[in-house]
Amino acid sequence: MNLKILFTSILLFIVSCKPSTNQEPTAQSKLTAQDSLKVVQEVLGVVDDYTLAHNNLDDAKTAECFVNSPELVVAENSELTPNWEVLAKQIKEFHSTVASSQLSWENKKVLVLSLNSAAMTGRFSFNALLKDKKKLSLSGYVTIVLVKQNTRWKFYQYHESYKVVNN
């Protein structure tokens, strides 16, 4: 009988010590090389999803990449977007003016911060053909701080600085 209790206790101990997957900060931040590689792969996958959503002019999927929380910070050059709702509206309005778009990246680098947080930086080029036949070309750097929230990585802080190449 005592052995059964002992076995149950050990099982409970192992199960309870599984790493947390929600976005709340934890006191644990030790990472193995394997953990880091997994984070890098997952983060690059999410940025690929974002790029695809942007290029497909998919408003909902683009906005879904950002955490829908009061803690979201989005900065573009010298402007701050106040919240997720405004951001989703801006994405929708911008996509409605675009006929086709091509977002591409160079020198992407992921800085693994913890098991459930990371920062990605990269140089981007954005070329769009607008519905009024004008062309828009932007080039610059992006910093994205991502947090894993219930098994999904979301953009928690997004900072973009760019120059208009021509329009």
Partner: protein
């Protein structure tokens, strides 16, 4: 004997689970306060034109990244030299914060966003205003000290020639 073993396992369970608890609001507030002091220290060193700024406040690592308002990207050594050159060319720097935000991602990682303005007067008499200036900083607690491991600045720059205010 079995009872003692059971007690030992249960104690280990309680201790290990306590260690992995999420940070309390009090702990988060304490961490944010420490990082705010680190940010204030960076701003003060800028205003004092103190060349020790980068070596004391930034992370001396190959992973350090700085993206400046002019769109350039620098590693630690480039940032150290660039900042030193910039500070020695300046006659004065004034910084003003209008908004700041701190998020604890873990007990040793904090992401900060701040918005404000900066006025730089060069020794040549030219003045540069960056308003608004938005900065993303990532801080890591390294051996008990909060160091900036990542910076991204962007803003609207206005250059006034010497003699104009």
């Amino acid at each position: 004997m079995k009872s003692k073993l059971l007690l030992l396992v249960l104690s280990a369970f309680i201790v290990s689970c306590t260690q992995k608890q999420e940070l309390t609001q009090k702990e988060k507030d304490q961490i944010k306060s420490e990082v705010k002091s680190a940010v204030d220290n960076i701003l003060a060193k800028f205003e004092k034109l103190d060349p020790s700024l980068v070596s004391e406040c930034y992370w001396d690592s190959q992973d350090f990244i700085e993206i400046s308002v002019d769109g350039s990207k620098a590693d630690f050594q480039t940032s150290k030299k660039g900042t030193s050159d910039f500070l020695s060319a300046a006659a004065s720097i004034k910084l003003a914060l209008t908004q700041e935000d701190y998020k604890c991602l873990s007990k040793d990682i904090v992401v900060c966003a701040w918005m404000g303005k900066e006025k730089i007067t060069l020794k040549t008499g030219e003045a540069i205003t960056i308003s608004p200036l938005i900065t993303t900083l990532i801080f890591k607690n390294i051996e008990g000290r909060w160091k900036a491991i990542y910076l991204h600045e962007s803003g609207t720059e206005t250059i006034l020639p010497a003699g104009k205010k």
